[in-house]
Amino acid sequence: MSRQKILDRLKSYSPSTPSKMKVKMPGINKGSVEVFAQKATAAGAKIFIVKDMEEVKARIKEIITDHPGNIIYSSEDLIKSLQIPNLVSEEQRESIEARVDSVITYEKNIFESNIGITSCLYAIAETGSLVLDHSDYNERLISLAPPIYICIIKSEQILENINMIANIIEPEIKLPSAYSIITGITPAADTDAQIGLGINGPKQMFIIVVKQI
C-alpha cells in the first residue's frame, strides 16, 4: 500500500531535462605493492613483503609465537596451503579451521580466539585496503572478532583503486552474501588521542604480501 503511494507520488514528476553525464570510471589496472604497503601502514597495519610461501609461514609463526591464544582461520586455498596447525608449536593452543566447525562451536571459537587469519579477494593500492568476499570459505567474523588479524595476499591481487573493484563486482551474476573492505584498524576519533583506537574490530593487523619475482 505504502509502496504504491510513494512510487505514484515520485512518478508524478517527469524530468523535463535529460539526465546529465554519467561518470565513467577507469578499467582494471594493477596497483603498486609499494603504494599499497605505504597506505596500509599509514592506516595502522603492519606490512611484511615476502618472496614465497615458506617465508609467509615463517612470518605467521613469528606472529603466533609473539601473541598467545587460539587461532581461527578461513578455508581459502591459500590459507589451507599454509597448514597452520603445523605452525603452532605449543600444545595448549588450538588452531581452528572455521569451516569444519559446527555453527555452535564456531560461535564459541570465534569469541575465544585471539588471532584470525584469512586471505582476500583483492587489495587496493590507493587506500591500502583489503577486499574480502564472504562465504562458507571466508566467514565474516574471522577478520573482525579476534583482537589480532592476519591477512595474506599475493601481489597480483593488488588493484589501483576502489572503482576497479566496482568494475569487477558489477557484472557478477551471483554475488557473495557480503563484501568487506577493510583499511587498517579503527583510528582514534575523539577528543582524546586514544579514544576509539581499534574499538570493535582487531587491535592489531598484519598483512603479508607475497611478491613473487
Partner: protein, 487 residues
C-alpha cells in the same frame, strides 16, 4: 530532555555560555580545521575539489531525476538476492514494521549502528516503549552520548564536546566503570561491554549509506566495526534507509562513499566498508539468515515533487557543511534540536517539519555561503535559506509558515523609508537622536523592544552625530554629480 528546533535560541544561549567556560569551542574549531585541511589534501587543489563536486553533484542529480525507477530496480534486485524490501510512508509505519519483525523473530536483544534516520523517526524510543527488547547502541560515541542522555554533538565525532575525564565520569556514573586516567582502559571497558552485547544480539539494526540499484546491495560505511558486528553476528538484520539513498550503480556508490569519508572524517576511505548483497547462504557460519530493508519516505516524496526544493535530497550526510559553518562552530549541535545539525539539516528539516517549527534554524544563518562552497554534492544552501525566509515572511501555508505581523509592519516601514531620500534622512536623524539615550562608552549595548533581542548578543557602535553625506557637504567636497557636470 528531548530537544526540538523550537528551543534553538534558549539552548544556543546555554551552549555559548557553557562553551565560554570550557575550551569546547576552540576544540571544535580546531578539529574542524584539521578535517578540512585533510579533506583538501586528497583533492590536491581547489580545481580538483571543484571537479569532484561537479561529478558528485551530477551523480546525485541523476539519481534524483530517476528516483522512482532506481527504487524499483533496487527492490527487484534486492528481492532476487533474498532480501525482504518493505516500504514505510512515515516514521510510525517504519517503527511498526520493526516491531512486527521483532515479534516474528522473538528478538530479545538488538544492537544498532549509528543512523540519523533512526533518530529522525525516534526508533530507539519506540522500541524501548513498545517492546520488551533491549536495544544497545553499538557505536562508541553514540554509546557515550546515550549514557549522557544527549544527542550526538557532531556527525562524525558525536562526543567531540567531552574530554576523557568527562567520559570516565559518565561511564562511572551509569555503568560503574572504575575510574581511570588511561584512554586505552576506557576503550577496553567499552570494547568488552559491547562485545558481550554483539554476542547476545538476535537482531542488528543499521542505517544505509547507499542502496545500489544495479546489484540490489547495501553499502555501509563506518570506522568502528559495530556495523560489521550488527550485520554479521545476529540472525536478523534490519536496514533502514530513506528514499533518496538509492544510487544507480556501484561506480556511483563508491565515488560518493569516497567523498563521505574525505569530507566527514578526512580519510581517503573509512576503516570498514560493507557491501551487503543479501542474507548469508545456508552453508555460511555467520551473517544474518534474514535481511529486511525498510525504505522510509517520511515526507520526502512531497519535497521531491517541489521543483524548487527537490535538490535538497541530494545530501549524502558527510557533515562537511557543519564544520565550515560559523554558527555551528559557535553553538555546537544541540541547539539545532534535530538529528541533522548544521546547514544540511537546516536545508531538510524546514521541508519536513514546516517553516514555523524550524524558523530559528534558517533565521540563524549568517548567509556567509561557506556551506555552499564546500558541499561535495553542490547543494545551494543559501538559495534554500533565503527562500525559506521569503516564504515565512509571506506566510506560505503549504510549508506551514505564518507571517509575523509586527515584523511585516516593521520591514514595510523600513522599505518605505529607504525608498525615498528625504524620508531616509529624516528617519536616520530621528534614530540618531533616539539612540543617543542608550550610549555607554561609545557603544549601544541595550535597547528597549522591539530591538531588545537584537542586542542580546551584539553591541552597536554609537551612531556618529553627523552622516557621511553631511560631513562631505560641510567640508565643501564636490559631489559625484558636480564632478560629472565639470567633466
Amino acid at each position: 530532555m528531548k530537544l526540538s528546533p523550537r528551543m534553538f535560541r534558549k539552548v544556543a544561549r546555554e551552549e555559548v555560555a557553557e562553551q565560554e567556560q570550557s575550551n569546547n569551542r576552540v576544540m571544535l574549531a580546531s578539529v574542524a580545521n584539521d578535517l578540512c585541511d585533510t579533506a583538501m589534501s586528497y583533492y590536491g587543489d581547489y580545481s580538483e575539489q571543484d571537479k569532484a563536486r561537479e561529478i558528485a553533484g551530477n551523480i546525485r542529480h541523476n539519481n534524483l531525476q530517476n528516483l522512482a525507477e532506481l527504487l524499483e530496480w533496487f527492490e527487484l534486485n534486492a528481492t532476487l538476492n533474498g532480501m525482504n524490501v518493505l516500504w514505510a510512508e512515515n516514521g510510525e509505519e517504519a517503527c511498526q514494521m520493526v516491531e512486527e519483525i521483532i515479534e516474528e523473530h522473538e528478538v530479545k536483544t538488538i544492537t544498532k549502528g549509528k543512523s540519523m534516520l533512526m533518530e529522525e523517526i525516534d526508533l530507539a524510543n519506540y522500541i524501548k516503549s513498545r517492546t520488551k527488547t533491549t536495544l544497545h547502541e553499538g557505536d562508541l560515541e553514540g554509546f557515550i552520548a546515550l549514557q549522557n542522555d544527549t544527542i550526538r554533538f557532531n556527525t562524525a565525532i558525536p562526543t567531540l564536546n567531552l574530554d576523557l575525564s568527562e567520559i570516565v565520569e559518565i561511564l562511572n556514573h551509569r555503568q560503574n566503570m572504575p575510574h581511570t586516567n588511561e584512554a586505552s582502559e576506557v576503550v577496553d571497558y567499552i570494547r568488552e561491554f559491547l562485545r558481550t552485547k554483539f554476542k547476545q544480539a538476535d537482531m542488528g539494526i543499521t542505517g544505509v549509506n547507499f542502496a545500489v540499484a544495479s546489484t540490489g546491495s547495501l553499502l555501509l560505511l563506518e570506522n568502528e566495526g559495530n556495523i560489521r558486528w550488527s550485520t554479521s553476528a545476529p540472525k536478523v538484520h534490519v536496514a533502514i534507509m530513506s528514499i533518496e539513498k538509492v544510487c544507480a550503480n556501484l561506480d556511483d556508490a563508491f565515488y560518493l562513499s569516497s567523498l563521505i569519508s574525505r569530507n566527514c572524517t578526512g580519510q581517503s576511505i573509512t576503516t570498514y566498508v560493507s557491501l551487503l548483497n543479501g542474507p548469508a547462504k545456508k552453508e555460511e557460519k555467520d551473517g544474518p539468515r534474514e535481511v529486511y530493508v525498510i525504505i522510509v519516505d517520511n515526507g520526502r516524496s512531497e519535497v521531491y515533487l517541489d521543483d524548487e526544493f527537490r535538490e535538497a535530497l541530494r545530501c549524502i550526510r558527510c557533515g562537511r557543511c557543519a564544520v565550515k559553518c560559523p554558527v555551528y562552530l559557535r553553538i555546537g549541535a544541540y541547539p539545532y534540536g534535530n538529528p541533522y545539525p548544521g546547514p544540511s539539516g537546516t536545508v531538510l528539516m524546514p521541508l519536513l517539519l514546516g517553516l514555523d517549527e524550524t524558523k530559528h534554524l534558517y533565521q540563524a544563518c549568517t548567509l556567509c555561503g561557506a556551506c555552499m562552497e564546500t558541499c561535495p554534492v553542490e547543494i545551494p544552501h543559501l538559495d534554500f535559506f533565503q527562500r525559506y525566509r521569503q516564504l515565512k515572511a509571506s506566510g506560505d501555508k503549504e510549508y506551514e509558515a505564518t507571517s509575523n505581523i509586527w515584523n511585516k509592519m516593521m520591514f514595510e516601514s523600513i522599505a518605505k523609508g529607504m525608498d525615498n531620500n528625504k524620508r531616509y534622512e529624516r528617519a536616520l536623524a530621528g534614530l540618531r537622536a533616539y539612540t543617543k539615550n542608550f550610549v555607554t562608552d561609545n557603544y549601544i549595548e541595550k535597547m528597549p523592544m522591539p530591538l531588545a533581542s537584537w542586542f542580546i548578543a551584539r553591541d552597536l557602535p554609537e551612531i556618529p552625530s553627523q552622516s557621511f553625506r553631511a560631513y562631505w557637504q560641510e567640508e565643501g567636497f564636490r559631489t559625484a554629480k558636480e564632478v560629472k557636470e565639470d567633466e
